[in-house]
């Protein structure tokens, strides 16, 4: 596989990641979102592996495997199980309607592209153009968190945001040092357990996972 | 040594003059007034007779009166006489003159008033309190105007010392100063207010609602009343003498020659007679003002004094 080809494949994967990010923004059903999220994880994992292969950085394989396990299997499974177990309504409710969010999302992508332009100039890596996509994914994940009403969808948005971070880490820098990668993975795992626990706590205290219930702590009169 | 002796003699002569001439001026004013109003008068000496009579009368004190009530007449008398020793009435070489300049003099009168007002409140009647309150109000408003007037005069003489002020006016060549004219006008208005004459107060009234000074001394009797009345007459005389010393000091005795002293006493008598006539001329056609019109009256005095000062800076 030549470097050029790898770059092309990576570019395609980046586009797919972006697409799934938009998909998360547009998807109305929770299961659909979970699938999209798993898909995004898969693309990320493949992308990491390809970068590792082309750059000859073997620790990236570890990241790729970690990503594959965590983001494609473990986390979606946990979420799936929770949604199933907690009888969460399948429809996603959102605050801002979807076309508007899409428009905002497009604006964010353009903004990210503009923002990363100076960085792109500097980089000598083959993956340099993917940084804009990574930042866009972060922003889109953020947008999902802002516009959705349920705790589960917020978590999905959060995880998508982290996917963007990982993508940035692999694409912009060929991956962080392994110790960092491992630590980050561990943290995410703990986070997954914690939000799992949380869902039960929320569920038992509020009888719902709707964030509307959790707006009591406020200071307006 | 002789100058010291001379000045001490002058001092005692002046105190004697002040003590004796006070009732005389009051008698003169009353007499002229009676004549003006077509009444027969009791003569110039009537105030002396009044005071003598009061001295031999018993003192009846209100049940509630404290030592302040009894002490006040003496203090008022003392303060007034002290003022009499300071104002250059017949001479400018008084040894006690430097003891107080005009500001201190005003304060000495203020102290007498302070105690009179306390005495007015001491008996615990409504009238006394009313008198005290009103008297203090009038004094409050008169004081700034007084200071402005004095300030103008002291600008001319460069001093607030009374003897010095009188001396400067006598020794300098005579000239018409608008500032002094305005200051004099203001001074007259203030003196009217301070000595409790018409139109601010009526010294002869005993109507409850028109009294100011009289209301405060309503509960006094016997020798206390005598002292207060006497002090009041001296005060009128002193204000007249003060005005004369500040604005028309010509004829006042200096350090030398010796014969000027009797001459000064004579000049003083003439000037006082004129002042008395002026008082009568002012008082006869006027009625007493309402208490809250006094504000305007004294405001006018303040205005005159301020114009006097401004004209000093702008015209002279």
């Amino acid at each position: 596989m030549t470097t050029n080809l790898a770059a092309q494949i990576n570019g395609v994967l980046a586009a797919l990641i972006l697409l799934t990010a938009f998909g998360l923004l547009a998807q109305r059903r929770i299961y659909g979102m979970l699938h999209l999220f798993a898909l995004q994880g898969l693309f990320l994992s493949v992308s990491t592996a390809i970068v590792g292969y082309t750059a000859g950085l073997h620790h990236l394989y570890v990241s790729a495997v970690l990503t594959l396990i965590l983001k494609v299997f473990v986390l979606p499974y946990i979420l799936y199980a929770l949604v199933h177990k907690l009888h969460i309504r399948k429809e996603v409710e959102d605050l801002v309607n979807i076309p508007t969010t899409m428009l905002i999302g497009i604006a964010l992508v353009i903004f990210s592209y503009h923002l990363t332009a100076p960085v792109r100039e500097l980089s000598t890596l083959i993956t340099k153009s993917t940084l804009a996509v990574a930042l866009s994914t972060v922003m889109l994940g953020f947008l999902v968190m802002i516009t959705r009403k349920k705790a589960v969808t917020q978590i999905i948005g959060f995880l998508a945001l982290e996917n963007g971070l990982f993508f940035a880490a692999t694409s912009a820098t060929y991956g962080m040092p392994l110790v960092v990668e491992l630590g980050v993975a561990l943290d995410i795992l703990i986070a997954a357990f914690i939000f799992g626990l949380f869902f039960f706590q929320i569920r038992t205290t509020f009888d719902s996972l709707d964030l509307k219930e959790m707006e009591k702590l406020k200071e307006e009169d | 040594m002789t100058t010291t002796l001379y000045s001490i003699i002058v001092e005692f002569v002046q105190i004697a003059v002040v003590l004796l001439a006070g009732p005389a001026l009051a008698g003169w004013v009353r007499m002229l007034k009676c004549r003006m109003q077509g009444r027969t008068s009791a003569g110039v000496l009537q105030p002396y007779r009044d005071i003598m009579k009061l001295f031999v009368k018993d003192v009846v004190l209100a049940e509630n009166a404290s030592w302040i009530f009894r002490f006040t007449p003496y203090l008022v008398f003392g303060a007034t006489v002290m003022a009499g020793a300071i104002i250059p009435v017949i001479s400018t070489v008084l040894p006690s003159a430097p003891a107080a300049d005009i500001i201190a003099l005003v304060a000495i009168f203020a102290m007498a008033r302070f105690f009179t007002a306390l005495a007015g409140m001491d008996a615990g009647t409504a009238f006394g309190g009313m008198g005290s309150s009103r008297e203090m109000t009038v004094a409050t408003l008169a004081e700034p105007a007084m200071l402005m007037s004095v300030f103008t005069v002291s600008l001319v003489s460069g001093s607030t010392s009374l003897s010095q002020m009188a001396q400067v006016v006598t020794t300098n060549p005579l000239m018409l100063r608008p500032s002094l004219a305005f200051a004099l006008l203001a001074f007259i208005l203030i003196a009217v207010a301070e000595t409790g004459r018409i139109p601010v107060d009526n010294p002869a009234t005993h109507l409850e609602l028109t009294m100011l000074h009289e209301a405060m001394t309503l509960e006094y009797s016997g020798r206390h009343l005598a002292l207060i009345e006497w002090a009041k007459m001296i005060k009128l005389f002193l204000y007249a003498a003060l005005g004369v010393a500040l604005f028309f000091p010509w004829g006042i005795a200096g350090a030398t020659p010796l014969w000027m002293l009797p001459a000064a006493v004579f000049y003083l008598a003439v000037k006082m007679a004129i002042v008395g006539a002026v008082i009568v001329l002012i008082e006869t056609p006027l009625a007493k003002m309402r208490i809250f019109r006094v504000t305007e009256f004294l405001g006018m005095a303040f205005l005159f004094a301020t114009i006097g000062m401004l004209s000093y800076f702008m015209l002279e």
Partner: protein
């Protein structure tokens, strides 16, 4: 044995006070002992402070000391010169009298409530004041300054059951702290220009003295510091805490707060403008003068309107601070025009009035405390005739009233007379506008003096003269001897300071000498020690001894002649009051505080917020057939509504808006972060 140096004495006295504060905590279970120990030792410390101050002024030497605490690069610098010596003397003198008084006064609380906090914070308060005037760097000054503020805050809070007291303490502390921060900023400005800011050496006053500050920043520093100090001094319009806090505090504390704590603020102004910054622009003095005049007039007008005795005294403190500021302002203007003789005359007037005010206001507050102690009453409308029950207090209080009303030969008159002299010399100024405006200022000062006489006639006569107005019969008893002793000493010093001004000026003249470089005692003394003649003997002169002896002699003579001549007649007849023949007089028909103040309320009412209402008690009956009417009168401080209310309203409005941020919705919070991120990315 040689006398310890002023610095040593001052430091020892502070140490004694601090030890007292700590030991008060240790002995808190033995309250009676605590009263004796704390106030006896405080008296001792005050004597030491007084000696230190007296010596420092008469020596005129500058003494410095560096304490090895604080920051390693910024230890505590101490310095005593004539100016600080003068103020230490004031603190020591009144502190001594008040501490003696407190021996009796505080004992009244024992058994009723715990006096531990009083015993802890009273010495701390004293120590804070002494430290303020001897500190010589910005850091230590601020510590001392706030120590003074905090300890007096706790003293104001001493009787904390009442919500009004707590509120008063709160307002006091708030304004004091805002002022302190302003002072701090001013120090920061000056230190910034001084060399060695980076290594903390710029914070010393000596470094600030050497700093070359551009005029604009110097003015900024002056304004910050002036308003900071003015908040503490109770200058209108920053005075609102004062009439709240003084009545709330125990009377011995009010005496100290009013008598000396306000003076430390004036000390700050003098130290900063004359010593550290050196007056460079005349308008600084103009601001001080104008605010002084406003404070003097409004202060006394509000004082007249009060029915609460201690509130009236508090407002009168506003007035007196105004008078002192007038002198300081004059002095600054003269200094800016390089007229050093006149400047030192004005400054001496201000300093003298500070000393005098400490004495008579201390005396009056102690007197008010005595009345409170005896009658448990602060409202003058329910007093009257106390001169019969409290003869000592009445006489001593009268001396205080005479002094504060500027009656010769008492001390208040001397300093006001000096201020007038300074005013009357202002035509020498080269600036024509100032020439014209100054006399008007003098007229306002005259108005103030007259109003203050009126105020204290009212206060004294309503409280002590006439008949008792309370509902229950008066059960007052004369106070105990330490209280009497404290007041007697104060009264004696009022008289002595009034009668021997030349001696005092000769002593205090060192302060203007070091600050301005000129002194007035030379001219004041050419005419002999008996005569006070600033500038020259032809210009003006005043001799308190002559007047005092003269009036006493005439009074004695008159008494001898007219009173005791015929012994049979000296027996007086007592009879019911005459009252123009009206026989059904009751105690409630007397003139009271409100009615006494009525004419002035009509004349100067526009300066106040007056709410007056007369409501018939029986609403059904016709107005002409009412048995009773209810008369209500509320006099509020206009400044409160003009300045503070809008401020607090605005603050609460902002708070409500800030509350919107905490919206409760997590999406909104996320949106904040998101927007922050985007905005930063766009702009950075």
């Amino acid at each position: 044995m040689t006398m310890p140096s002023p610095m040593a004495l001052a430091v020892y006295s502070v140490v004694i006070l601090l030890i007292m504060a700590i030991s008060a905590l240790v002995f808190k279970s033995r309250q009676g002992f605590l009263v004796n120990a704390v106030f006896a030792f405080s008296s001792l410390a005050c004597v030491m402070a007084l000696t230190a101050g007296f010596q420092a002024v008469s020596n005129g030497a500058v003494e410095t000391l560096i304490l090895p605490i604080g920051l390693p690069d910024l230890p505590f610098y101490l310095r005593i010169d004539a100016l600080s010596g003068f103020f230490i003397a004031i603190i020591g003198l009144l502190g001594l009298f008040v501490s003696i008084y407190s021996l009796g006064y505080v004992r009244g609380f024992v058994g009723q409530r715990s006096i531990t906090s009083l015993a802890v914070f009273y010495p701390l308060f004293m120590a804070g004041m002494i430290l303020v005037v001897i500190s010589d760097d910005a850091y230590f000054f601020m510590i001392a300054w706030e120590l003074m503020a905090v300890s007096s805050f706790f003293l104001v809070c001493f009787e904390d059951e009442s919500g009004a007291n707590r509120r008063a303490a709160f307002i006091y502390l708030l304004i004091a702290h805002i002022g302190a921060v302003m002072i701090l900023l001013s120090f920061g400005l000056m230190a910034g220009f001084a060399s060695g800011f980076e290594n903390f050496k710029g914070y010393t006053f000596s470094a600030m003295r050497g700093a070359h500050i551009s005029p604009g920043w110097a003015s900024a520093a002056f304004l910050l510091a002036f308003f900071g100090f003015a908040a503490k001094a109770g200058v209108v319009p920053l005075h609102v805490w004062l009439p709240e806090a003084h009545p709330a505090a125990p009377s011995n504390v009010s005496a100290l707060m009013s008598g000396v704590m306000l003076k430390t603020a004036l000390y700050g102004i003098i130290r900063l403008t004359f010593d550290i910054l050196t007056v460079s622009q005349w308008w600084w003095g103009g601001i001080v003068l104008v605010l002084g005049l406003i404070s003097a007039v409004t202060g006394i007008l509000y004082a007249i309107m009060q029915v609460d005795l201690k509130r009236a005294l508090a407002y009168s403190s506003v007035e007196n601070v105004g008078i002192i500021l007038i002198s300081i302002g004059l002095s600054m203007i003269f200094t800016a025009h390089k007229m050093h003789e006149l400047a030192s005359l004005a400054l001496i007037a201000g300093l003298y009035h500070s000393l005098n005010h400490a004495m008579f206001k201390g005396l009056l507050f102690m007197g008010a405390g005595a009345i409170l102690h005896a009658t448990h009453e602060r409202n003058m409308e329910r007093m009257g005739g106390l001169i019969h029950k409290l003869p000592w207090t009445a006489t001593l209080f009268l001396i205080g009233c005479l002094s504060i009303s500027a009656m010769p030969p008492f001390n208040g008159f001397v300093s006001e007379w000096l201020t007038f002299q300074a005013f009357l010399l202002s035509p020498a100024l080269p600036n024509p506008i100032l020439k014209l405006l100054f006399p008007l200022g003098a007229a306002l000062l005259a108005l103030t003096a007259a109003l203050s006489a009126r105020c204290f006639v009212k206060v004294y006569s309503v409280t002590f003269l006439g008949r008792w107005r309370g509902e229950h019969p008066c059960a007052a008893r004369e106070v105990n001897w330490p209280m009497k002793a404290g007041m007697c000493l104060c009264a004696a010093s009022c008289l002595l300071l009034g009668v021997f001004p030349t001696a005092v000026i000769g002593w205090a003249d060192m302060a203007p000498l070091i600050l301005i470089g000129a002194k007035i005692s030379v001219s004041a003394k050419t005419f002999g020690w008996l005569w006070l003649t600033p500038v020259s003997s032809v210009r003006a002169s005043y001799s308190a001894p002559v007047i005092f002896i003269g009036i006493t002699a005439v009074v004695a003579a008159a008494y001898a002649v007219f009173h005791s001549r015929r012994s049979s007649k000296t027996a007086l007849t007592r009879a019911p009051v005459w009252g123009c023949g009206f026989e059904k007089l009751t105690n409630r028909m007397q003139y009271n505080s409100t009615s006494f103040a009525m004419p002035l309320r009509r004349i100067f009412g526009f300066l106040m917020m007056i709410k007056e209402s007369v409501t018939p008690q029986d609403a059904n009956a016709h107005g002409a057939f009412q048995r009773k009417f209810v008369y209500r009168l509320m006099i509020n401080d206009r400044v409160w509504y003009l300045l503070y209310k809008p401020f607090s309203k605005a603050a609460f409005w902002c708070a409500r808006k800030a509350g919107f941020m905490q919206h409760g919705r997590i999406q909104i919070y996320l949106l904040y972060s998101f927007i922050t991120l985007i905005v930063l990315l766009v702009f950075a």
